[in-house]
Symmetry: C2
Amino acid sequence: MKHGGDILTYSHLYDGRIIDFSSNINPLGPPEGLKDEIIKGFDAVSAYPDIKYRELKKEISKYLGCDVSEVLVGNGAVEIINNIAMLFDRTVVTTPCFMEYIKRPEAMGREVLKIRLAEDFFLKASDIVDSIKSGDLVILGNPNNPTGRRIEKDVLMEIHEKVASLGAFLLLDEAFYEFCPPDYDSVKLLYGSSNLCVIRAATKFFALPGIRLGYAYASREIVERLQEIELPWSINIFADIAGRTIFKQVNYKDKSKEYIAEQREYMLRSLKEIKSIKAFESQCNFILIKLLNDIEDNIFDFMIKRGIMIRKASSFEGLDKSYIRIAVKDYESNSYLIDCLKEYEACRR
Amino acid sequence: MKHGGDILTYSHLYDGRIIDFSSNINPLGPPEGLKDEIIKGFDAVSAYPDIKYRELKKEISKYLGCDVSEVLVGNGAVEIINNIAMLFDRTVVTTPCFMEYIKRPEAMGREVLKIRLAEDFFLKASDIVDSIKSGDLVILGNPNNPTGRRIEKDVLMEIHEKVASLGAFLLLDEAFYEFCPPDYDSVKLLYGSSNLCVIRAATKFFALPGIRLGYAYASREIVERLQEIELPWSINIFADIAGRTIFKQVNYKDKSKEYIAEQREYMLRSLKEIKSIKAFESQCNFILIKLLNDIEDNIFDFMIKRGIMIRKASSFEGLDKSYIRIAVKDYESNSYLIDCLKEYEACRR
């Protein structure tokens, strides 16, 4: 299983100082004050976390705008995906997508229907609605990883309507939600549905991949069914403390959204000038790129020698070796990447 | 799903100052110096943990006396149990046992064969060997929770031999291993077996239930198979840091073993004097008790009013309401519990 962020495997190649464009983390770093909270709460390590995560779920419910009884938490978003997949015999996904949508049900011996999206990677309702059967689990990334595409509001509503009418279930993975323009909020849009779970995560937007905290809004019935099968105490005490702290930080949120939007535009504009690649439009903090005349291995090697780790994208089902993915980072790193890409292009001529 | 340690549910009953005899944690508290290590390593929260947990596994391999390639880690011992259960169609357990041995395979729709032990709760090889089939997973607690019994060395070897000859698989859950007298070490005893996994945990002996760190010795083949299906980054960065610190603390280990042995003897001796209960012999840091003329609810209520939370044991399959479980804690708490039990006995007359 290949993921981004495995920087240690390559650290010997560039003296350990690699800029990691392979994992998609808020470049502003974690919210302030978290370290103090962790130090203050340290003594709780010698007790079990609250098995019901009452305080944590209260903070999350306020942040999501739902009831405490509609909140799920997990050891990263991926644990929630895993637990929900446990409830269904068949999963429907579109490819390319985050590979765990496929891996989790397959690891349990369940069937996965994979529908390949057309090359522009924009999801249309007609791509999938006719394939969904009663009792299916449909997992969609919103925005989708690695394509960077958000599902259009009307498309989402049409898919949800079909899912609801069939008695199927829609799992939206919105781990990158906060990076997107404020178009719509799926939780508000579809609130009250009994066929829905919307996953978010502290990992990306709050720059806390070390913490492992995923959370979700879900219908009360699903929350109750999962209580029967989920692993006990899956959130450790420090993730619990972090979750009770970060959601209150409104300024951090605003500042991050603004900064990412600005850097994304800068990146997309700059990438257009490089003719040997095609960058796909993105609504979040990473960009999928097609190499028009090369394979991922060559550009990976070129970049790693310059201290940059990009994400080879052929490990995503539905993509071949002509794709890579890069994160939107801080201005200094981004402009260095652009410079290196220009150098790459010059060498290819 | 009922577990120990859910103290928050009862905190309103006794002004929040409850002594928790329901969860079985080293009363000496976590090893010294851990807080400093966490503070020192804090900045790592904004990066993913090493997806291969290289440094952590190195420390664990030294502690267990095996090769790095034979080490598994998990978000608590229970995640390792869950992942291994994913590999097998049928699981064999003896009851009473830690309920997750049954819950994990059942949550995945797998078959579980439950063999009820006779009332003394000593496991004999003949209790199970004839029920094991080729391809089965056999999960045994060693020592077993909630009975406190260790598997005798000869019995363990006989069971392992049968398992190996059938091509079945033996999973020993040794989360309480370090509390036991130094009789034998299963990892050394059965080292090199390709039909074995031995789980240990930081939770109990190192008094770190807040951390969520389980680890195991397993055959290389199983480690490799699990790499394909386990959740990525299941250990958060603070658990990773803790794991790289605690195993080096030899003094802590010796002191804890000695203290627990002493307190266990004190408890078993004192419990014998209380005629309305029967305490089972224990080799670890908790004791199963049979109420000779009462049910768990009454003694639970009696104790909670005195600021003591015991573990009702009827939630363990194979036990009825006449059983409770108590932890071996520090001398002050233990003697207070004994006093309360004497008062309970006086009230029952």
